[in-house]
């Protein structure tokens, strides 16, 4: 398949209406064609924009409670299986003894991880745990994302990158009262990336969250306390 033929099918792929046989052939072409991949990205953004242009409407009263009543206050099973299969970091045996991280998580795609409290549903009442957010600042002083923490049991961290960093994988590192703890990896592409993880470290003991490049150089810092 050449680019001309691919171009007649990209729109249908972006709209998710391309039948399977042609989809397979097109995906083979896309594997080796950067130009068509770029066009597909733009068309997919256009398809997303169409869906987001649909009217909003308030759902019937009680919708929120009904939804939350169906969602268990535990991590999703599928995420747990995927995590175990793809886990590449933050295993207990790699960690400093004084800072124990929760061992359930870290997908290879390094986005979201799992862990949690059994026996409850999200529809239950919340508690007094705290969210906090800090800006992620590059060494050049630019705001390039943020770090969110949740000081619950277990606590979790979430780092979001929305700024100019070279493509590549960065280590997420916490500086705590007890030392430095690498807790995961964030894969940046075109200035975007995100990573999250349950941790057993108390966010109250974390002073700084950092992104570190493959040379060990800190490229961005978020001051937690």
């Amino acid at each position: 398949m050449d680019c001309s033929e691919a171009g007649t099918m990209l729109d249908e792929l972006a709209l998710d209406v391309l039948p399977g046989d042609r989809r397979t052939a097109l995906l083979d072409h896309l594997e080796g064609c950067r130009g068509c991949r770029r066009l597909l990205e733009e068309l997919s953004e256009s398809a997303d924009a169409l869906l987001l242009a649909a009217p909003v409407a308030e759902p019937p009263a009680g919708f929120e409670d009904r939804v939350l009543g169906r969602i268990p206050a535990v991590p999703a099973e599928g995420a747990a299986r995927r995590t175990r299969a793809g886990s590449t970091w933050a295993r207990a045996d790699r960690r400093p003894a004084r800072i124990r991280m929760f061992a359930a998580a870290a997908a290879a795609a390094a986005l979201l991880a799992v862990g949690g409290v059994a026996g409850a549903r999200l529809g239950g009442s919340g508690d007094d745990r705290e969210f906090q957010t800090a800006q992620l600042i590059s060494t050049g002083g630019s705001d390039i994302g943020d770090v969110s923490t949740y000081a619950g049991r277990p606590a979790w961290f979430f780092m979001r990158l929305e700024g100019a960093l070279p493509n590549g994988t960065y280590q997420c590192v916490l500086d705590t009262d007890d030392g430095t703890v690498p807790i995961g990896s964030l894969w940046a592409h075109d200035g975007r990336g995100a990573w999250g993880e349950h941790v057993r470290v108390d966010p109250g003991h974390v002073t700084v969250a950092r992104l570190v490049d493959s040379h060990g150089t800190t490229v961005a810092t978020a001051r937690i306390h």
Binding site: A49, L51, V56, A57, V67, R82, L112, S148, H225
Partner: protein, 191 residues
């Protein structure tokens, strides 16, 4: 970071992470943030409030279950939720074998400019521009694009229902989507 951040002030991605972690407050904030958009899209496609609520509830369950597969490099959380909702609504339509080729289909998903937009100012501008672009497309292109984008109709299905050659159906879809792309890329360059 000394002071606490209300859950409603967290990023979409952080709330999705919290939902997937099974976190109560993040889950509540996530549902509150997206419920009108998710329900609105389901209602636009299905035009049945009861069925739309079923679909919207299922969309949030999917978000909890598959949150770990969300990739921010492929689009926003809002777009990811919209795709989940759209696919579930299409499944529901197919189960009912519902016919969507009536003239109301277009009006349901492309509201007038003054229809409410719950979003940031920038996104609201984009939404209004996309709606305008859809209304200014030639009718046959807009119809083919809406049938594909919102109702999951393939070019073959559109060809049969509209009684037009397959190549014509594919061209209408392509020209329609390219017009939207041109609008968005032009807006981005101007912005």
């Amino acid at each position: 970071m000394g002071s606490s951040t209300p859950p409603d002030a967290l990023s979409d991605e952080a709330l999705l992470a919290g939902l997937t972690f099974g976190d109560v407050e993040a889950g509540q904030a996530f549902v509150r943030r997206f419920q009108s958009r998710v329900f609105g899209l389901a209602l636009a496609v299905l035009r049945d409030p009861v069925l739309a609520e079923d679909v919207a509830q299922e969309a949030f369950l999917r978000a909890w279950r598959h949150g770990s597969s969300y990739d921010p490099r492929r689009g926003t959380v809002a777009a990811w939720m919209a795709r989940i909702t759209r696919n579930l609504a299409i499944d529901a339509l197919r189960l009912r074998r519902a016919e969507v080729m009536d003239p109301q289909a277009m009006a349901a998903v492309v509201p007038p400019d003054d229809a409410s937009v719950e979003d940031s100012a920038v996104t609201a501008d984009t939404v209004a521009a996309v709606r305008r672009a859809l209304r200014h497309l030639p009718d046959e292109q807009a119809r083919a694009l809406v049938l594909a984008a919102f109702y999951g109709r393939t070019a073959e299905e559109i060809s049969r229902s509209e009684a037009i050659p397959l190549g014509t159906a594919k061209t209408r879809i392509r020209l329609g989507l390219r017009r939207i792309r041109l609008l968005l890329t032009t807006s981005a360059e101007e912005g």
